[in-house]
């Protein structure tokens, strides 16, 4: 048995077990834009869930509805997305074998909060080339809500597939077809 020492952040986060929502669901729609050579997509969260996930990071976010594209707090959301929505993909070929791997680094281009309680985050990440294997990790909100389930629809040329991510199944592969 491996003994590991844990170092906790001494953050006494605001935490409530009874927060009354029944959502625990995030959805992302992502494409690979071959002309622009980048991933482009939208990630949709329940607004209050994302607010509570980011609140312990130290800066008061308050209500996302008050933010606009110039708000400095958007950087916190961008950071959160890059922590919890990641793509690892082959990005260079050598004699038909992938010899370099890259990791996504998303830029948050904007957010829109909807009156039905969701927030749409528009993101892009440059990717000069895209080869197999393409691995997605989408564990947003799972550390806070164990019942959280996330789905991602990835569109590559004529391929379109929806992948499901759970607390114990946070990584999925997408196979690019020639």
């Amino acid at each position: 048995m491996l003994r590991t020492t844990l170092s906790f952040l001494m953050v006494f986060a605001f935490s409530v077990t009874s927060f009354a929502h029944e959502f625990y669901f995030a959805y992302a729609e992502l494409t690979y834009n071959e002309l622009q050579q980048r991933f482009e997509g939208t990630i949709i969260f329940t607004t209050h869930d994302l607010e509570r996930a980011i609140e312990p990071k130290g800066t008061l976010i308050g209500k996302f509805e008050k933010l606009d594209e110039t708000s400095a707090e958007l950087k916190l959301i961008e950071h959160y997305i890059n922590e919890h929505f990641q793509i690892n993909y082959g990005c260079a070929l050598d004699s038909n074998a992938v010899d370099a791997f890259c990791k996504s680094q998303f830029t948050l281009e904007g957010i829109v909060t909807q009156l039905n309680g969701t927030i749409e985050c528009y993101v892009s990440s440059s990717a000069g080339a895209l080869y197999n294997p393409v691995q997605f990790k989408f564990d947003a909100l799972m550390d806070r809500y164990p019942n959280q389930q996330n789905k991602l629809t990835f569109i590559y040329r004529d391929q379109k597939e929806t992948l499901s991510f759970l607390l114990y199944d946070q990584q999925k592969y997408f196979t690019l077809k020639p």
Binding site: S18, T47, T162
Partner: protein, 765 residues
């Protein structure tokens, strides 16, 4: 396009396909019997038990402790002798050894801070302390507590038709809802050092005994809610004298509780169509400061309810208005601390009134004398006649638009629970969807009648598509026990609400659906329905076989993805040689030409047969497009044998399209196809789902029009929850992604900042 010549014989399709999606539900549903009829109605031998309660409650505001003595009168209307009784001890979920904590799956990643660990190990001396259980002679009764259930052993079996009374004395420490969580508890307001109590599941409650489960004594694990028999309640609640109490039922002693001025306002509210304030904010704020040390006792009575809950605080502002339903005036009331304003004084009671009025239209008339909304931070929870709802503005009284809609939605939803499951009393411990799903469906209808284009979170078909599409490993069928559901909200709230919306808008139509749905509600009002009773009634009252729908939407995790995979275009062959040979010539002239042929026309100056006239024979010289006497004679013969009506049809220029549809998602649905014509006009075709009854994965259908079609679109009104709209069009149109739509829109601006800019600009003018 192809010309179509009819062959005058009928093809018989002899393919043998195992019937699955349209198989009747026979094996999945319980066999109908004398208690529950095959029609979905209560059977002629239907029975239900009755549990009447008399309770004396004392709240200690200093210790946050509730003491109670209850007398239960239990009537056995079943045909079975009962050797023991089962009661629910819901507060025991806060016992340190409660299973609900033990069964939580955990990973180290769940604990990112010390506070996470402290929360996990938070100690709270919760759970019922049962002091004694006695018969009405004061003799102790034998009982055994199994976690959240308690069995009372009877000295002799309770025979059919008999009743028994007994008394339980208990107490428990009320939970700090903000720390411990839960559906009820207290909220402490640090600023004025006062408590707001929302008290529920607070007394040992009888389990349901019926023909379906026997005793429904499945342990309370936290998610699957409650299953309770109906009964009458008489409850006296002793609280600090300056508290205002809101409770299930009608207060019997306002005369001795309220001030004369408050009684006058109360009488005014009973006749008012708009909210009248009974306890003002100023009165509540005065009470907050003074903190009475004496107590008062509020007495309530409630008839034919399945539960009892109450709220109490000296912080309460109270307003009320009447709402007439079925000729009866219902008193709609709200109780809220000042922290709820300005949202609560403006909207809560009006939302209560609107909700019971609208739900009554779609289900059954509201049956109780009062309907109450209590403000309780963060939560939304329902009990008979009373519910606890979130929706709190900022400390400075401002609120966002989203917060407003959140508050509206939760009040409509929780008040709506008066109908599901308080009146139409399904088994929540077993089936969450039967109350949450049906309630969310009527909530959607009610929201749309509150405000045009209300941004409802659930209901419309397209809103469930993201959840249902793709990898199915993380979702469960709707017909899953409450404790085992994956994706609780989407599964038990969103998907059934969507399914009912699809039935109403697309499969059955509003008239048939509304009649059948109301029939179900009327049949099972103040009774205990099961899923089978719902499924059967919806079919019985509509003459629509919905077994395929229940099977697909409620028993499977299939999703809707129907694609238009092929379109073939035909015109009718008129047999008229003048027309058809000209058409053939035109068609040949339009054929693509091989590049070598084009170049040869100039590169080869003269061919052999162009030089030598002896080369071309009959075949080379004939004109295949010329109409000759034989052609004309044949046509005359055809005309003489064909009716005038058929000839007219052949010559009408009909355009025929054979569309092929593939079922990629597994869930069969009606086909709604919009054809757009060359002149810009459109026509919508609606093909019932039964088109899939034999071939479940690929079907075709022919449509005949008077003019050419330029495009087809499947599900143009987003009514089937199709998860991939990109394969719904012909010619293929790739719909823009959300990202692309966002990039096409102009720059966004915070609405409040924009308003400020506008005002500055106008001020500058």
């Amino acid at each position: 396009m192809k010309k179509l010549a009819f062959a005058f014989f009928t093809l018989a399709s002899g393919a043998m396909v195992a019937q699955t999606k349209f198989a009747q539900l026979d094996q999945l549903l319980p066999t109908a019997n004398s208690y529950r009829a095959a029609s979905g109605a209560p059977g002629h031998a239907y029975y239900q038990q009755k549990a009447d309660y008399k309770m004396t409650l004392v709240l200690d505001d200093n210790k946050q402790r509730l003491d109670g003595t209850e007398t239960i009168a239990y009537t056995n209307n079943s045909p079975d002798p009962l050797a023991y009784l089962w009661l629910q001890l819901d507060q025991n979920i806060y016992d340190q050894n409660a299973e609900s904590k033990l069964i939580e799956v955990e990973k180290m990643e769940n604990f990112k801070s010390v506070s996470d660990l402290r929360k996990r190990d938070f100690y709270y001396d919760g759970g019922f302390k049962i002091e004694k259980i006695t018969n009405m002679s004061g003799q102790p009764m034998t009982y055994f507590i199994n976690k959240t259930m308690m069995r009372i052993d009877l000295a002799k079996p309770l025979m059919p038709g008999q009743n028994i009374s007994f008394q339980i004395k208990w107490w428990y420490n009320v939970n700090d809802r903000m720390q411990v969580g839960g559906r009820s508890g207290y909220e402490y307001f640090e600023a004025d050092k006062n408590y707001l109590y929302t008290i529920a599941q607070f007394f040992p409650r009888m389990c349901v005994y019926n023909d379906v489960t026997g005793w429904q004594n499945k342990q309370f694990l936290g998610r699957g809610e409650f299953t309770l028999p109906f009964g009458d309640y008489e409850v006296s609640i002793t609280v600090p004298a300056d508290h205002i109490v809101a409770a299930t039922g009608e207060c019997q002693n306002y005369a001795s509780i309220l001030s004369p001025e408050q009684r006058k306002r109360y009488e005014l509210a009973k006749k008012s169509d708009t909210p009248v304030v009974i306890v003002t904010q100023a009165e509540a704020e005065a009470a907050e400061k003074n903190k009475a040390q004496k107590t008062k006792t509020w007495v309530y009575k409630a008839t034919n309810v399945r539960d009892f809950a109450f709220a109490t605080s000296r912080k309460f502002i109270w307003d009320a208005q009447k709402q007439t339903v079925g000729g009866k005036d219902i008193l709609c009331m709200s109780y809220y601390p000042k922290e709820g304003n300005p949202l609560w004084e403006r909207y809560s009671t009006k939302l209560v009134a609107h909700t019971i009025k609208t739900y009554s239209k779609y289900t059954v008339n509201y049956m109780y004398p009062v309907a109450i909304s209590v403000h309780s931070k963060w939560i939304g929870m329902e009990y008979p006649m009373i519910c606890f709802n979130g929706g709190r503005p900022e400390a400075d009284g401002t609120y966002s638009e989203g917060e407003k809609y959140g508050m509206w939605g939760v009040i409509i939803h929780e008040v709506g629970h008066n109908f599901f499951p308080m009146i139409i009393n399904s088994d929540e411990r077993q089936w969450t969807w039967m109350d949450e799903g049906l309630n969310t469906f009527v909530q959607y209808l009610t929201e749309q009648e509150w405000e045009r284009d209300y941004p409802s979170r659930r209901g419309p078909a397209y809103m469930i598509a993201d959840y249902m599409r793709g990898d199915l490993s993380g979702i469960s069928p709707i017909m899953t026990n409450s404790e085992s559901i994956k994706q609780f909200g989407n599964n038990a709230y969103g998907k059934p609400a969507t399914a009912l919306n699809i039935l109403r808008e697309t499969v059955m139509g509003r008239e048939l659906f509304d009649y059948a749905f109301k029939t179900y509600c009327e049949r099972w009002a103040l009774k205990h329905p099961t899923p089978a009773d719902f499924f059967r009634t919806m079919e019985d009252a509509s003459a629509v076989d919905l077994d395929w729908f229940w099977r697909g939407w409620f028993y499977s995790t299939d999703h809707v993805d129907i694609a238009v995979t092929d379109v073939k275009w035909f015109e009718l062959n008129t047999q008229n040689p003048e027309l058809e040979k000209a058409f053939l010539q035109q068609k040949d002239a339009q054929k693509d030409v091989f590049i070598g042929d084009t170049r040869n026309k100039t590169a080869i100056t003269q061919t052999v047969n162009e030089r030598d006239a002896q080369i071309d024979d009959f075949y080379a010289k004939r004109n295949i497009y010329a109409v000759d006497a034989i052609d004309r004679k044949d046509y005359q013969t055809f005309v003489s044998k064909t009716s005038a009506e058929d000839l007219a049809y052949l010559n009408a220029g009909k355009q025929l399209y054979e569309l092929t549809f593939e079922n990629l998602g597994g869930l069969v649905m009606p086909l709604i196809i919009e054809a757009t014509f060359a002149d810009g006009s459109t026509k919508v075709e609606r093909i019932p789902a039964e088109i899939w009854r034999v071939e479940e994965f690929k079907v075709s259908k022919v449509f005949v029009y008077d003019q050419p079609v330029v495009s087809f679109r499947l599900d143009p009104f987003l009514e089937t929850a199709d998860t991939d709209l990109d394969n719904n069009t012909w010619p293929r149109v790739m719909l823009p992604t959300r990202y692309q739509l966002y990039k096409q829109e102009p720059k966004r601006e915070n609405p409040m900042q924009r308003q400020q800019r506008l005002e500055q600009m106008q001020g500058g003018n």
